[in-house]
């Protein structure tokens, strides 16, 4: 349909309003992170006057931010490798074989995506206490696997579904067994799918707050979300550090998100989301 001039104008007005609304909090955080304290705690409205890197310097040199980043990186990486590795064979079975219990398993993974983390929180806390895993990264890896594995299965099933079956037939003719077919043919063909799934599993672990808040007790063991939350103190809120930290945490996530978002959307609508 050809658009009339008035219609085109209306389109732009709507989109501009919503674009501003979408970008504004991010923009404001970015701007604030470059402000000196005197301007942050001011009642005047100024976009930016004397930009400074002081907040970033303080964040990286004082306190535990770097340690938290290392912890987050470690937990997210281990979770991702663990979840993708386990999920791959399972997703392949669900994608390729028609066996009794297939749809029940699929349903189970969908439901596993649905229940709120607080349900598992309490029993996991008891188990981790007994196993002396509280305040270690392993408590997080295991608890993150509870949602990362079902998520990866659903995403990977979608990717495996798109690989033509004839390729596997060819492998079988060449004498490969089912496991050989999987390792030699399906996995090499799914590298992009595996990468995208891994990245999203990584991001989910990188952003997780509730389990980390509950299972970590000492400041050196904190991941970034828990560490950032400790800054929010009703009496003394270091907004310079909070905004600088927000910027540093968000940049890598955002770059990746825009590269990979296309794949997430199809995966999510077939799979499910974790709040």
């Amino acid at each position: 349909m050809k658009m009339s001039r008035r219609h085109l104008a209306l389109t732009h007005v709507i989109l501009i309003i919503f674009a501003i609304w979408s970008v504004f909090p991010v923009f404001w955080t970015l701007v604030t992170s470059f402000k000196p304290e005197s301007q942050i705690f001011s009642t005047q409205i100024k976009v930016i006057d004397q930009p400074t890197l002081q907040n970033y310097i303080d964040l990286l040199t004082r306190g535990d931010f770097v340690q938290w980043a290392i912890n987050s990186l470690f937990v997210s990486l281990v979770t991702t490798v663990f979840a993708v590795f386990l999920a791959a064979t399972c997703a392949y079975a669900i994608s390729r074989f028609r066996f009794r219990g297939r749809s029940a398993s699929l349903y189970l993974f969908l439901v596993a995506q649905m229940f709120p983390a607080v349900i598992l929180l309490i029993p996991l806390f008891a188990i981790f206490t007994n196993l002396k895993l509280i305040d270690t990264p392993w408590a997080l890896v295991l608890s993150y696997a509870t949602f990362a594995i079902p998520f990866c299965i659903l995403m990977l099933k979608g990717f495996f579904d798109t690989i033509p079956y004839e390729l596997e037939e060819a492998g079988r003719v060449d004498g490969l067994g089912p496991f050989g077919t999987f390792w030699r043919i399906v996995i090499p063909l799914s590298v992009p799918g595996l990468a995208v799934t891994a990245f999203f599993a990584f991001i989910t672990a990188w952003n997780e707050f509730l389990f980390a808040r509950s299972f970590l007790t000492s400041e050196e063991a904190f991941t970034l979300p828990v560490g950032m939350a400790t800054f929010i103190d009703p009496f003394n809120q270091p907004w310079g550090l909070l905004t600088a930290g927000s910027v540093l945490i968000t940049i890598p996530v955002m770059i990746f998100f825009f590269v990979a978002q296309r794949f997430l959307i199809s995966g999510m609508t077939t799979g499910g989301v974790k709040g």
Partner: protein, 293 residues
């Protein structure tokens, strides 16, 4: 390939084993705890044997009959929270999807900008808004101040402490709806609109008679996901109001978490099971209704 069931199960085995250990076993413990009165004082320590007891269905009875006076108020606010949020996510997401689903210059750039909230970690979003809402030097109050209007303590004044977390969560949830609905719109065959146009249908008529019905399956999926997601979202309430003032803005998941931090394990576990049951029943009913209509 039914005859090769064992191969399938061999592929499934590692996951099922791990899921059994980290999901099903803890779930079983969680359900077991709901029939006890276990808490942080009677659970037993190195120095003291456990002294909790079985209480049967008492926890469920206390909660569901309203003896635990918090349950129904918290549930009511959780439902309002979910409905209001998903309503705005869906309507605004649809408006933006319809707007983007046209041919004009700058479309891709708008799409990128509108996706931005999805790319930001939810807790970082909450921190960003918290700063804007700050009573003393937050931007919102500074703007009001510049116009000579009184400052508002947004997070402790009725009804703002209900509205502010909704604003944040609406901001968070629109991009997902927008993108999913845009995908739905793009899969509607163009000739449907051409035929309608030839029959003299207006834009509005096409919207009600073609667009909405064609979007039904996408819409029902994203609304269901949106409801579950909003019902369970923890960080927005936790960071923005902390459930305050006086627990008024706690939703079920944050309230359950508070029970856990206070060491009321049995009660919190019972809340957990109730939340899960509510969601299961809701999605089962929802799916049936969506299929029948």
């Amino acid at each position: 390939m039914g005859s090769r069931g064992w191969v399938a199960w061999a592929f499934m085995a590692p996951v099922l084993l791990v899921m059994a250990l980290i999901v099903f076993y803890p779930m079983a413990i969680g359900v077991f705890q709901t029939f006890t009165n276990i808490d942080n004082l009677n659970q037993g320590t190195r120095f003291r044997p456990p002294s909790w007891e079985f209480v049967g269905l008492q926890n469920y009875i206390d909660i569901l009959t309203g003896k635990d006076t918090k349950f129904y108020p918290v549930l009511a606010w959780t439902v309002v929270w979910t409905v209001v949020n998903v309503f705005f996510h869906y309507t605004l997401g649809l408006l933006l999807a319809l707007t983007l689903n046209q041919r004009f210059r700058g479309r891709t750039s708008y799409r990128m900008l509108l996706l931005l909230p999805w790319a930001v970690p939810a807790y970082i979003t909450a921190i960003a808004w918290l700063f804007i809402f700050n009573g003393e030097y937050g931007l919102l109050n500074n703007v009001l101040g510049a116009f000579g209007m009184p400052r508002v303590a947004w997070l402790s004044t009725f009804p703002w402490y209900y509205i502010m977390p909704i604003i944040v969560n609406v901001w968070l949830g629109i991009p997902f709806m927008m993108v999913a609905l845009l995908g739905g719109l793009q899969s509607i065959p163009g000739d449907l609109y051409e035929a309608a146009q030839m029959d003299g249908a207006s834009r509005t008529q096409s919207f009600w008679n073609i667009t909405l019905p064609q979007l039904r399956s996408v819409s029902s999926t994203v609304i269901l996901l949106g409801c579950i997601w909003t019902f369970n979202i923890f960080v927005v309430i936790y960071f923005i109001t902390g459930g305050g003032p006086g627990g008024k803005t706690d939703i079920l998941v944050t309230y359950t978490y508070n029970g856990f931090t206070l060491g009321q394990y049995a009660i919190a576990a019972t809340y957990g099971v109730i939340i899960f049951s509510l969601l299961l029943v809701f999605s089962a009913v929802y799916r049936r209704v969506a299929r029948e209509s």
